[in-house]
Each structure stands twice: as structure tokens, then as C-alpha cells.
Symmetry: C2
Subunit: 366 residues, 2 copies
């Protein structure tokens, strides 16, 4: 559990207390398991395009549907609350699950099934209010994305959970090939990093004085409250516009940045490329003030943001563009959304891997 901050374990009876991070099984442990149990269908250089590969670690599953020339894309994701407001948490849960479709260049979602757990430690009336707000936030955001919630599963659990499965039926002609990056491509990221650092520091500030002490003096209350607001807004921002524009500007490869950090997802994406390329991350745009705490927390590498390994929730798209298309994309997404995107690296000759260049340049995003 090194790159995963354990959720709080105390019974939560008096408020909707956030659970820190969507505590995923570590990437190495999980991949070992899946490789032993499931069949991998990663791309090979000998595969002729168009190739729609399904390596372990793909953002979403893409399957022939049985109906000729129609594919079924699907993805599931759920996690524990990480902001206090159940309505906002519902919105983030929906944004996060839709993101995997967008990362695959699929901009239309047929329907979503909601996955929800009410806390078994919460009094009935409180649980009802929390569940209702989470459902409403989730459902509103799915509708904002032009889709709808049509079912799901709701259980009791010690920790609340929110998420779902998003699906899209896609005619073959609308599929985008995202295993086509080549030497010289530029890597762009559409949201700043550091969402979970902000969420954790905020939790320390409001309810964990012992942990807060170790970063006092490095950061301060004002900076953390501001970063938490930015992170909360960012996690609610749909990657749909980014997905539409990445197709318009002819992206060669794309993924979204979530639980394994930008480097983890860059490695996944690199492994699925048809050519022998490597992704070099040359700078990391981070919500202002979040990167500097890395060296100050008790376990030195707890967040690992500067190493590209800090988990993100509902992070941005990481996209490889032909060099001539980058400026157009950066300008148009800023005009549409009012959020900056960032050039974070380049594609070089290599062995289908990714790394963070040392020393890494940090951009403090205000």
C-alpha cells in the first residue's frame, strides 16, 4: 500500500467524512494478478492499422458486439468519498467514470449504471440524506454529459462508495486509434496534477492535527484551502470537450490520469503503442503549492507527486499530438473551457515505456 493512503477506519457517525483516496490495489500487484488470470491483447508492431487493442490497463474495454461493425465500449470505476459534500462527490464519481470513455475518444455515452454504498455506521436518517445527495449529484452530472443513469447496485459498507459503469455502443467508423504515437509527438495534459495531495492536506488541516504539523511552515491554511477548491472544481470537470478536441486535432494516443499517477498511466499507454516509442515526462504542472510538500511528509515519498506517482481522481487526459497540432488544441480548449492545458513532454524512440526526466521541472499552476 505504499502509494495508497489508507482510508480512515474510524466509524463515521456524525458527518460525511471523506475517506482520503480511492484506495486501489497497487499497480504491480494488480497487473500480476490480472496477467495470470486474464488474457492480454496488447498491440504488436506487426499488427496492421486499424488496430483496436485491448491490453491489460486499457482505459476502457472495447469489444466487437456481435452486430456487424458495431463495438461496445465499457468501463467501471468507483471509490471512497474524498470531499465533504455528498452532492459534489456524486458529480466527481460520474465525471471520473465517464473519463475512461473520453480517454478512448468516445464522446457519446449510451447509459451509466451507478454503484453506491451507504455507510453501515451511519444513522438511518443521515445515510438517507447522504445517499440522496450522492445519487442526485451523480445523476445530474451524467445528464450534463448527455447520457442517463439507468440502473445500478446499492449496498451497505463500512465506508461509503460512489461510482459506476459507463457504456457506449459505437459504430466502427467512429472509433479512434490511440496506439499510433510516433517519435516527435508532443505530450499534452488537460488538468493540473495534485488533486489527491490537496484533498489529503485539506483533511489533515481540518481533522488530523498530528499529520498537519509535519507540513506546517511548508504550506499554510490559505494555500491548502485554495488548492482544495481548485482540486474539487477540477475533479468535476468533464473530459468530454478534451475528447472532442483531441479527435479534431488528430491525437495519436491518449489516456486519462487517475489512480496510478501520470507516470503509471503513461507507462500503460506506452505499452499499448504499436511502434517502439517511449514517453518522456519533462515537466509536471501541479496545483500551486502541492509539489513542494513531497519532501516534508513523514514518509518521505508518501505523495510522490514529483515522481509522477501521486494518485489523481478524475484527472485530465494525457494526449500525444503531432507537433503541428498542439497549438491549435491548446488554444481551442482554453477558449471553450477557460482551463489551461499543458505541454508536459515528448515521444522519443524507445521500448514502449515512460519515465520522468530528472531533475523534473514543476509548474505551479495558479
Amino acid at each position: 500500500m505504499k502509494d495508497c493512503i489508507p482510508p480512515l477506519k474510524e466509524p463515521k457517525t456524525s458527518q460525511f467524512e471523506p475517506q482520503s483516496v480511492g484506495c486501489k490495489i497497487p499497480q504491480v500487484e494488480l497487473e500480476g494478478l490480472l496477467e495470470r488470470c486474464l488474457t492480454d491483447h496488447s498491440c504488436q508492431e506487426s499488427d496492421p492499422p486499424p488496430s483496436f487493442c485491448q491490453g491489460i490497463g486499457s482505459d476502457c474495454s472495447l469489444q466487437p458486439s456481435g452486430v456487424p461493425d458495431v463495438f461496445l465500449a465499457s468501463t467501471t470505476d468507483f471509490f471512497y468519498p474524498l470531499v465533504e459534500d455528498p452532492y459534489v462527490m456524486g458529480k466527481i464519481g460520474a465525471t471520473n467514470v465517464l473519463s475512461d470513455l473520453y480517454a478512448a475518444g468516445i464522446t457519446s455515452c449510451t447509459n451509466v449504471l451507478m454503484i453506491l454504498a451507504g455507510s453501515s455506521d451511519m444513522p438511518l436518517e443521515e445515510r438517507r440524506i447522504v445517499l440522496e445527495l450522492m445519487i442526485k449529484g451523480f445523476s445530474d452530472q451524467v445528464e450534463k454529459a448527455g447520457s442517463k443513469v439507468t440502473g445500478g447496485q446499492t449496498i451497505f459498507n463500512p465506508w461509503p462508495m460512489i461510482g459506476g459503469t459507463a457504456m457506449s455502443v459505437v459504430p466502427k467508423g467512429e472509433l479512434v486509434q490511440l496506439s499510433e504515437s510516433q517519435v516527435g509527438d508532443i505530450l499534452v495534459l488537460t488538468k493540473p496534477l495534485g488533486t489527491q495531495v490537496a484533498v489529503n492536506l485539506h483533511q489533515w488541516l481540518v481533522s488530523k492535527p498530528d499529520l498537519w504539523k509535519q507540513v506546517e511552515g511548508v504550506t499554510d491554511e490559505g494555500e491548502v484551502l485554495w488548492a482544495y477548491d481548485v482540486a474539487t472544481e477540477s475533479m468535476q470537470r468533464l473530459n468530454r470537450t478534451a475528447a472532442i478536441l483531441m479527435k479534431k486535432y488528430n491525437a495519436h494516443a491518449a489516456t486519462d490520469v487517475t489512480g496510478f499517477g501520470i507516470l503509471g498511466h503513461a507507462k500503460n499507454l506506452a505499452r499499448q503503442q504499436r511502434r517502439h516509442v517511449t514517453f518522456v515526462l519533462e515537466c509536471l504542472p501541479c496545483i500551486k503549492g502541492m509539489a513542494k510538500v513531497d519532501g516534508w511528509v513523514r514518509q518521505g515519498d508518501r505523495f510522490q507527486l514529483r515522481r509522477g506517482l501521486s494518485a489523481e481522481t478524475s484527472g485530465g487526459l494525457l494526449i500525444a499530438f503531432p507537433v503541428d497540432n498542439v497549438e491549435g488544441f491548446l488554444n481551442e480548449i482554453y477558449l471553450e473551457e477557460g482551463w489551461r492545458s499543458f505541454v508536459v513532454g515528448r515521444v522519443v524512440d524507445g521500448n514502449r515505456d515512460a519515465y520522468v526526466k530528472e531533475p523534473i521541472e514543476i509548474i505551479d499552476v495558479e
Copy 2:
């Protein structure tokens, strides 16, 4: 939580201890929530057939896909372990999630996403073994059903979880109308009831002597061990053959029996019928010895099996057939599978509701 036995809360560090029941939010609480938050699309008598209605409580979601004359069916379900063997538990999890497609008359599954939680209280090496066996059982069963696991989400949680989302892309011509029951139809059930009673009694026998005491003398070790074996086998039995045959014998309505008990699901199904009908449950086939314990447990109505409210996991299909087709179905499914199905009631004139006839006839199934 009246009709839901709370899962064990002790940290589980030394074995893969079952968590009793898939602890669903109670039906009334959940429906209230969903009705306030989501849009209902139940059938109306004025709807002309063919009508593919999507009332809250439908077994699976059925959506126009955007591709002309192609629908997307999807369903999600997951729960806590209820047998000791992680491999068998994986198989049951897969059987259970596929069941909702079969209940809708959809016999071909495009793909499944797996939902999995490894216990955060388990030592790493043990968790790995348990997860690997659960994945293998789940994946093997999905393959047995002619489909495949193509993704999922894996997290840490205090309690382990297993389940998934099953999807099917269905040409309109293959959809079955299951809101067409009419007065005179016969209700058939394809698996005996009592799976969770058996699982709970077994747990009491092996690790809860205080609870076991209250049923000692009513049942005994031999009966409970036998019932547990039957339940374990039954929960692994795919409803696929039943779904194929219910179409062949022109079923008018169908659902599968799971967390809300046979009566809860009969009520759901009745509410979605186009005509003004009521489903009367006249007898309840139960795994031998399970029904008699109802009056003996400390909270008198804990299991509520005789009232049709005991939760089932991966239960059978409840199907309304035209009277002339019942014998053919009963004979053919027995020949194919070696398991008996049961006539459990009839369809009468009514107000789209269901009830258990008093006094109820119990069939002890050996």
C-alpha cells in the same frame, strides 16, 4: 436493516471468512431514494406492444443504443463473500450478475467488467491468493457462459467484494417482451429458495455458537451441511438454459429472485406489467429443512422465508407461462439440467401487485 443480516465486522486476518449476505439497502428505502432522484419509465396499459419498459426495479437496463434497431442491455451486481471457497465465490458472483440478463430473456452476453475488493485487513500474501482465486472463478464462469471478462475495478475494502457489470448488445428483433402476463398464466420458479438461510445457518454452525443454539433441536448439523452444499451448487448454476427455454415456451413475464426475496421481485415484476394483474404465490419450494427455522430464530422474522422475503443470492428465474406451455418447460429444463423447476402460483386479475397466499404451502426440496 431488518431483512438484512449485517455482515461480520471483525477484522479477518486468518481466513477467507464469509460475510453472510449481500447486504442490500432495504427495498423500501432504496425505491424511495431512486424515485426521488431518477426518472421512472414503467409500462402503462395504454402502451401498445411491443413495449420495452424500464421501470425502477427492472432486472436490467435496456436502452436504445443510438445505432438503429440495436439496444444495449446492462446490469451490475456485487456483494460480500458468502461461501468459504474464493474460487466458488468468484463463480457465484459471475452467475449472479449474468442472471439479470437472462431474466430479461437475453441469452448472449457481450462482455463483463469485474468488480472486486481485496480485504484491507488481510495480510498481503493471503489477499493475493484470495484475489487470484476469486478472479479465476469469476472469469471461468463468464467463459462457461460464452462471454469474457474484459476489465473492471479492484480496490481495498474492509470487507472483500465480488461482482461485476454484464452487458449485451441486442438487435431489436431478439428482445423479448416480459410485461405481457395475463390472467390464467402459471408462475414457475427454476431454483429452490433458501440459499441465504442455508448460508447463514452454516455460518452459525461453524463459527457462531450463540446463534446456532437457538436453532439446535429444530435443525441439525447434517441437515445444515447438506443444505449448504445444495445452496452452493444452486448459486453456481447459470440461468442461461432457463432463459433459452423460457423464450422457446413463450413466457409472458420473468424476473430473477435475488436480494429482495421471491415476493419482493414478484412485486417488482407485477408493477411492470401492462395489464392489471396480480401474482399470487401459492407455494414456496425451499431447500429441505430451511423453512422450518423461521419461527425459531431470536428475531422472530429474521429470515422471513415463509413470507417470501428471505434474500436469495443467484436465485432462479420466476416466470409467468401460458398454462398450456408449463409442462413442456418443466420437462425440458429437467432433462437439460437435472434440476427440478416448480409451479409456485398463478396470475389473477388485480392491481399490479403480488402476495403470498396464507397459509402458505412449503415444499421441502430434496
